[in-house]
């Protein structure tokens, strides 16, 4: 459907916009994208959780992220959720939407993190508004599969 392409294309342009200019460093640009994702996620989750019932606990919230949020934003669910029950969650997506348009394999591995920064921020923003402070990082070993690691800050 054509509507799905709009988000993909805007995201692509956002990534290339943020990396414009010779003086910008990789870290700064990625931080900008992450911040954009954070603000988006924060406001988005307010609207999305309106209809869902109250969450019982942290795991409930994580399941919500993997199912409802991912379906709403990326039109698919997270393929695998792992946790060590001590505040670390790993989300596996075997075919991440923003990476699915690039060649599968290792050819563009060095550029993949740019396309994950916004999503890391999105997840962090959603969790922040739901009351969970955390750090979200992403890892790619082979396109288009990727892993998001969420580390909940407790204490």
């Amino acid at each position: 459907m054509a509507e799905e392409a709009v988000f993909d294309l805007v995201h692509m342009e956002a990534v290339s916009y943020v990396f414009q200019g010779e003086k910008i460093s990789e870290d700064e640009a990625v931080a900008k994208l992450e911040h954009m994702g954070f603000a988006t996620g924060y406001r988005l989750v307010e609207r999305l959780t309106r209809e869902s019932g109250r969450f019982k606990d942290e795991l409930d919230i994580m399941k919500y992220i993997c199912k409802d949020l991912w379906v709403t934003v990326y039109k698919k669910q997270i393929d695998n959720l792992r946790t060590n029950h001590q505040g670390v969650y790993v989300l596996h997506d075997n075919r991440f939407r923003f990476l699915s348009r690039m060649a599968a394999g290792k050819q563009y591995l060095q550029y993949a993190p740019r396309y994950l920064a916004f999503t890391c921020g999105l997840v962090r923003g959603c969790l922040a508004n739901l009351g969970i402070t955390c750090v979200v990082t992403a890892e790619v070993t082979q396109l288009p599969a990727c892993k998001f690691q969420i580390q909940v800050q407790r204490g």
Partner: protein
């Protein structure tokens, strides 16, 4: 007829308080604030009883001689409090739920405004009008 409508943020800071004209503002602010303790109890209690339908509407928080206080919490830890006259028996539970739903919708719209920073006081005129319509419509 609602006498006071309050939106309270995550850290229990007031984001928006509307009090009907001719009412004792301070007393109503105080009532809304004490309602927060009851909300906290209810939220903590629900998380221990599984099998309860976990909905956002919390119902009557408490009733005094003059006023009845109703509460509603969202998943993002924002609370809404509506205070009505105790003598007013025409307002049914369903109507209060509808009022809270509309309030929630209005709040969501405010959050989506790029010029609104979450955590600040709500100064939107649209929100003011919405609350006025909410109170008048019942």
């Amino acid at each position: 007829m609602a006498v006071c409508v309050a939106v309270i943020g995550k850290e229990n800071s007031p984001l928006y308080v509307w009090v009907g004209s001719g009412r004792e503002e301070l007393h109503l602010h105080y009532l809304a604030h004490t309602g927060l303790d009851v909300i906290q109890e209810k939220v903590a209690a629900v998380s221990k009883t599984p099998g309860d339908t976990r909905e956002l509407y919390l119902g009557l928080l408490y009733a005094s001689e003059e006023y009845k206080v109703f509460g509603y919490t969202t998943n993002t830890r924002v609370k809404f409090v509506i205070i009505t006259d105790a003598a007013n028996t025409t307002l049914r539970d369903n109507e209060i739920r509808m009022m809270f739903r509309r309030l929630h919708n209005m709040y969501t719209n405010v959050v989506c405004n790029p010029f609104y920073i979450p955590g600040e006081q709500i100064t939107s005129r649209e929100f003011d009008r919405g609350v006025a319509a909410l109170v008048a419509g019942n």
